[in-house]
């Protein structure tokens, strides 16, 4: 991943704007179930409410996802983090960073906010245990100064959860 994404917060390109407006309309017509997005003026940052799926460890819990779009979205992946408090999950760090391949190396421009949300909910739902990643403290310490998760070189080792 390039370092061009989050901190500098370049304005969206024309193409990114058009695409996001399309996604916004589609979301309003057909939102993914379990998610609520309160539309604001800010097209570049979406804050989305996630409801844990019934029958899972996260049932009846609500969390907030913050999605920031880079200048060249959808070529570049959006930055997706949980706002505190982040859910306890083996792939979610206490600073809200999510270890999920499609947000980084495996991003494809054919993915949408909606499909990303569904992947995250699915990741939550399949967790057998509520706990932090083993290296949580070390990682979070290294991420001081609001470093973007997109600058982490992630190592996706677990395909079960």
């Amino acid at each position: 991943m390039t370092s061009s994404s989050a901190p500098s917060r370049k304005a969206l390109s024309k193409i990114a704007c058009n695409r996001l407006q399309k996604e916004l309309v589609e979301w309003q017509v057909n939102p993914p179930s379990g998610f609520k997005h309160k539309v604001t003026d800010n097209l570049q940052r979406w804050v989305i409410e996630v409801n844990g799926a019934p029958g899972t460890l996260y049932a009846n819990e609500t969390y907030q996802l913050q999605v920031d779009f880079p200048e060249h979205y959808p070529m570049e992946a959006p930055q997706v983090i949980f706002l505190p408090p982040a859910p306890l999950h083996p792939h979610i760090y206490s600073n809200g960073h999510i270890c999920l391949d499609i947000l980084y190396d495996s991003w494809s421009p054919a993915m949408t906010v909606s499909s990303v949300c569904i992947s995250i909910l699915s990741m939550l739902s399949s967790s057998p245990v509520k706990q932090r990643p083993a290296d949580n403290d070390r990682y979070v310490k290294n991420c001081k100064n609001g470093r973007s998760p997109k600058e982490t070189r992630w190592w996706f080792h677990d395909d079960k959860v």
Binding site: K22, T152, R153, W155, F156
Partner: protein, 352 residues
């Protein structure tokens, strides 16, 4: 009706459809037919195809056979249902006659009427084909391996982005001067696009070849930069001789083999392979012809492509692609290119 008559009918179906017909059982008949829309064999004009299963019971033909779709390309759920219902209706209509060939023909007819891409471009989310005929639609193209369609402009933009990413990543680690150099790298990246040769479909990640999108490259004025590929080619050859590279390839071969053994790979069907040397087993003359057709056809038929594309494309192509074929064959196995790229990064990265 007598069993022999039904068996004879199945033979007839097989005679009509040849390799496109797979007889799973001759009595009671259970067959699979690979159907394509009528496009006079012009593959670039083909946007849908399907493998239809027809399974009859012992009461056939008094009782209509079951129809299902085993595989399809370019058809969403709605259109698949439409296709199945249509064939079922035909089956009811023909009840108590031997109907297998008639059902297959009905399927071909229906598929021909559905032979257009549907929905939005997965990259910009705007319709591929504008409903309103008065407005100008953007030209679109399809990937030959999976039939996913995109606006030409969108797929090229993504392709160029991908190539520039490939160039940027190694330097990115060393310093902040990356952004400035990107525009300069863009020229090389288009060039690299021709050499690097594979990408994966944004929708299904099926690997495709640079040639697949070459015919639309010149739409963005990049085509001229594709010539003179020799210097880069030498670089590639040097790279393949490095021990570390050999070792890396062996490792990926092993991983790939493991995946194959565990049925973890979805591989393209052999007769749909587009380009010589991509996944082909030792060349069979028939498939070679097919692939040549497929690569040149889009240029002839897509109205947006300048007429020059064909000739300029072929004049500098054969040499480089021949070279690459011999090189590619060695590591043909590790086709999911994207994955390879990831793996490299994982190895160098620290385990966070």
């Amino acid at each position: 009706m007598a069993e022999e008559e039904v068996v004879i009918e199945v033979d007839a179906v097989q005679a009509v459809y040849g390799d496109d017909c797979l007889v799973l059982q001759s009595y009671p008949p259970h067959i699979q037919i690979h159907i394509k829309p009528r496009t006079a064999e012009i593959s670039s004009q083909q946007f849908v195809e399907a493998v239809i299963g027809i399974r009859a019971g012992p009461q056939y033909p008094e009782e209509a056979p079951d129809i299902n779709i085993a595989e399809s390309k370019g058809l969403d759920e709605q259109r698949k249902n439409h296709l199945i219902t249509g064939i079922q209706d035909k089956a009811c209509e023909l009840s108590s006659c031997l109907m297998l060939v008639a059902l297959c023909e009905e399927a071909v007819e229906m598929l021909s009427s559905m032979n257009h891409p549907e929905g939005n471009c997965p990259l910009c989310l705007y319709p591929l084909v504008e409903e309103d005929a008065g407005r100008d639609s953007l030209p679109f193209m399809k990937l030959m391996s999976c039939f996913h369609c995109f606006h030409c402009e969108c797929i090229i933009r993504w392709w160029n982005w991908l190539q520039s990413e490939k160039e940027v990543i190694p330097t990115n680690l060393s310093g902040p001067s990356v952004r400035g150099s990107r525009s300069m790298l863009n020229q090389r990246s288009v060039h690299a696009a021709a050499e690097e040769s594979t990408g994966s479909c944004p929708v299904c990640r099926k690997v495709f070849h640079a040639k697949d999108i070459e015919h639309v490259l010149d739409l963005v004025g990049a085509h001229s930069q594709l010539s003179s590929g020799d210097a880069k080619l030498n670089e590639d050859e040097n790279l393949t001789e490095l021990d570390s590279e050999k070792f890396r390839r062996e490792k990926f071969e092993a991983i790939l083999k493991l995946q194959q053994e565990n049925s973890g790979l979805i591989e393209p069907r052999k007769n749909e392979v587009l380009l010589p040397g991509m996944f082909l087993p030792p060349p069979i003359p028939e498939t070679t012809t097919v692939s040549v057709n497929e690569t040149t056809d889009p240029q002839n038929t897509e109205s947006n492509v300048r007429a020059g594309a064909n000739s300029s494309g072929s004049s500098n192509r054969p040499r480089t692609s021949e070279h690459r074929n011999s090189g590619m064959r060695k590591h043909r196995g590790r086709n999911p290119r994207k994955q390879v790229k990831q793996w490299t990064k994982k190895e160098t990265g620290n385990a966070d």
